[in-house]
Amino acid sequence: MIYHDVVVVGAGLAGLRAAIAVNQKNVNVAVLTKVHPVRSHSGAAQGGINAAMGNNPRGGFDSVEKHAFDTIKGADYLADQPAALKFTQAAPGVILELEHWGCPFSRMGDGRVAQRPFGGAGFPRTCYAADKTGHVILHTLYEQAVRYEHASERDNFKIYDEWMVTRLVIEEGKCRGVIAYHLATGKVEAIMAEAVIFATGGAGRVYLPTTNAVISTGLGLAIPYWAGVPMKDMEFVQFHPTTIYPTGILMTEGCRGEGGYLTNKDGERFLKNYPDSAKAMETAPRDIVARNMQREINEGRGIDGMYINLDIRHLGAEKIMERLPGIRDIAMNFVGVDPINQPIPVRPGQHYTMGGIDTDENGATCVEGFYAAGECACVSVHGANRLGGNSLLETLVFGKFAGEAAADYVLSKSALKKGDAALKQGLDEELAKFKRLTDGKGEEKAGTIRDELGRLMAEKVGIFRKDEELKEAFKQVKALQKRFESVRVGFSGMKFNQALVMALEVEGNLAMAETIVYGAAVRKESRGSHFRTDFPKRDDENFLRHTVVTWDAAEKKMKPSWKPVILGLFEPKERKY
C-alpha cells in the first residue's frame, strides 16, 4: 500500500501552498490531483489578490483592520470575525512571499507591486498581473513546487498527476487515507496517510451556466460529506455579475475596477437607480450588482431581453491592452466582440462556493487528521458574500495554515500507519461502485442528469429564491438522485475512462445540490448572495448563524444543525455602498 505522512488532494493554489508548508516542516507529503497542477481552476482567476499594502497613492491609509472590516461587511456579517482578521493580517506577507518567489506582479512607476480598486473595498488594495493574476500565481506556485521537489530527499515531496481521489477513509473518528483512481493506468489504489488535506476547489458545476472549469464539480465536497464531515453555509453561492453571454466565461471585476460601465438597452447606467448601489455604482460588491443586473433583465431592460452591456470603450485602447488584454482575447475568441470598439454582452452566472467543508481557522475539521483549505473549505471568512480578490488570498493563507497544522499533527502522533483494514474495505467498496456504474443494467446517462440539474439549480435556486420554488427544487433533486441509480457508463475500460469520472462527479453534484437547496429553504431571510423574495430583509435575530448539514450514512439522510457566528470586532449594521 502506498504510504505518505500527509496527502494533499488537489494541486491548485491551496493544495500546492499546503504541500509546501508541510514540506517546510520536514514532513513527508504527496499531492494527488486529477489534472496536472497548472490545469487547476486557480489559474482562471483574473482580477487580483487583496492585501493592505498601501502601495497605491490612494491606499495610503489602508490597514489590515480596514481590509477585515470590508471583508466582514462584504460577508453581510456572516464571517467569523477573528478568522477574517487573521486572514487579512496574513495578506501582505502572502504578497511578499509570492513576489520573492518570482511572481510577475504588475508594477507601479516606483517599482513596487501595483494595486487596483475592486468591489466592496475602501481602498485600492488588489494586487494584480494584468488580468491573468491567477494564471501567474499558479505557475509561480508550481515552479516553487518543482524547486521543493528538486531539493527534497527521495519522494519526500511528490506530486501524483492525474490521480483522482474518489473516497476518504475515516475510522473511529480518525482519518486513515484515501482511495484514488490513476487515470493513465486505470489502477485504483488505497493510499494510507496520517493526515489528509482537501484542497479540491469549488462546486461550480452544480450550476449551469458557471464561470467554473469543467473539473470544478461537487465531488470534492461530496467525498468528505459522504464520509461524515459536516458542510457549512452551502446556500451561499456567489453569482458573478459579469460572465460572458452565452458561454458563462468570466469577465473580471477588474473591468469595473478599472472604470468600466454596466448599461441596459437604453444605454443607461442603471445601477444609480437602486439604493444599495447608487453610490458605489459598478464597484459595489458582487451580490448587489448581480441582483440589480438580473432585475434589469427580468423587467425587460436587458439587451434582447437576455443580457447587459459591459462597456469599457471609454478606457481607451492603450489601457485595455495594458490592463485587460486577456479579457479582450476572450471577448474576441468566444463572442467575436472587440471591447475597444464594442460593449461586451454579460449576465450574472454562478462563480464561487462560499460554503463548504466546516473548518476552523487552521483548516481543521471535526475529524482528527482531516483538513481542508481553499474554496472547498468554509472557515468562514467570506460569510454570505465573498469580495473580489479575496479568493486567491484565501487559497494561500489557509493553504499554508492547513499544511502547518497537518504537519504538526503528524509530528505529534505516536502510533503511525494504522487503518490497513479500513482502507482495504474502502478500496473494495469503491471498486464495486465503479463496476456498478460501468456494468449496471440502467439506461440513464450521467450527462443528461448533469445538465438537467445545472439548469434546475440556476432556475430555482439562483439569484432570487422563494419557498415554493425551493420545495419544488428539493423534490426534483431527489428525483434526479433516484434516476442516478440507473446511470450506466457506456464504456467499461479503466484507462482514462472520462465517462466514469464524469458520472462520479455528477453524483457529487447531486449530493451538494441537496445541501444547497436545503440551506436555501431553511434560511428564511436575505443575506449577501442569498436573496429570498418572500423574506427580503436580513434577520439577525434568527439567522446570524451558520447552517450546518451532516450526512448520516447509516440512515442515508441529511442531518441539519446550526452553529454560532463569532463576532467581537464589528457590530452588524445595514449594508450599503
Binding site: V38, R107, M108, H135, A184, V335, K495, A499
Partner: protein
C-alpha cells in the same frame, strides 16, 4: 434545417489496438459551438469511450491542445463552424506517446520543463519588502509569462521529433522568462543548462512553434535571444540582456 459539424477523430489504445484508426462523427451544430463542445457531445451521446483532456474551457489552462484541421490549437477556443463544410480531422499532440485517443503522455514534456530549473533564483536573501522592478523591466516578461504549457509548440517542432533529449520550445521560453527577469541572477547557470546540442543549438529556426502558439508567444524569438546570450557567454564577451 439543422446543420451538421463533421469530424474524423484519431482513435487508439496502444494496449489493445494493433494500430490507430480514424472514426467519423457527425454532430448537430449550434451557433457558438466550439470543438470542445463537439467532443463533449460525442462523449455524452455517441461514444462514451472517447477521451480527451479538458479543464477550464476558457483558453487559460492549456489542457485541450490538439491537432485540428491541420493546425495545433486549443479545442476550447476553436469554433466548430470550421467543420460545417468538409470533414475536419482531429489528432492528438505529436511527438509524445499516446495514452489513449486524444490523450498523450506529457511526462517527457514535464521532464524538460523541470530540467531547466524553472524558478526564480535571485541569489541574495529575500528583502523585507518586495524586490523592486520598474514597469519597463516588468514589461520584458509580458508575453513570456502568458505560456500555458499546452505543448502546441512541442508537437509542431521537427526537432522534438528527432531528438528526445531536446529541451523543446516551451522549456526554452521558460528559461528566457527567467533570463530576462531583472530579479534573477542565475543567468550563467541557465545558459549552461540550455547552451548545448540538446538545448538552444538544436533549434533549426523552423518557426513552427511561433506559428502554433495559441498565446502568440514566439518561442523562436526566445530561443534566438538565448542563443545570442549563450554565444556571447561562451565566447567570454560581457553578457547582454
Amino acid at each position: 434545417m439543422a446543420k451538421t459539424a463533421k469530424f474524423r477523430i484519431f482513435r487508439f489504445d496502444p494496449e489493445k489496438d494493433r494500430d490507430f484508426r480514424f472514426q467519423d462523427f457527425d454532430v448537430p451544430y449550434e451557433p457558438g459551438m466550439t470543438i470542445l463542445n463537439a467532443l463533449f457531445y460525442i462523449q455524452d451521446n455517441i461514444d462514451q469511450s472517447l477521451c480527451f483532456r479538458v479543464s477550464c474551457r476558457a483558453g487559460i489552462c492549456g489542457s485541450c491542445a490538439m491537432h485540428i484541421d491541420g493546425k495545433y490549437r486549443l479545442a476550447c477556443e476553436t469554433q466548430a463552424s470550421i467543420a460545417l463544410g468538409s470533414r475536419v480531422t482531429i489528432r492528438p499532440l505529436a511527438h509524445l506517446p499516446v495514452v489513449r485517443d486524444l490523450v498523450v503522455d506529457m511526462a517527457p514534456f514535464w521532464a524538460h520543463y523541470k530540467k531547466i530549473q524553472p524558478y526564480l533564483q535571485p541569489g541574495n536573501p529575500d528583502p523585507e519588502r518586495e524586490r523592486s522592478q520598474t514597469p519597463a523591466d516588468r514589461s520584458k516578461l509580458d508575453i513570456l509569462i502568458d505560456c500555458i504549457l499546452c505543448a502546441s509548440c512541442h508537437a509542431s517542432c521537427p526537432m522534438t521529433a528527432s531528438d528526445e533529449a531536446y529541451l523543446g520550445p516551451a522549456a526554452l521560453v521558460k528559461t528566457n522568462r527567467f533570463a530576462v527577469d531583472s530579479r534573477d541572477s542565475a543567468l550563467e547557470q541557465r545558459l549552461k543548462i540550455v547552451g548545448d546540442e540538446h538545448g538552444v543549438f538544436r533549434c533549426h529556426t523552423v518557426f513552427n512553434c511561433s506559428l502554433a502558439c495559441p498565446k502568440e508567444i514566439d518561442p523562436a524569438g526566445s530561443i534566438a535571444n538565448l542563443k545570442r546570450m549563450a554565444t556571447k557567454h561562451f565566447l567570454g564577451k560581457p553578457e547582454v540582456r
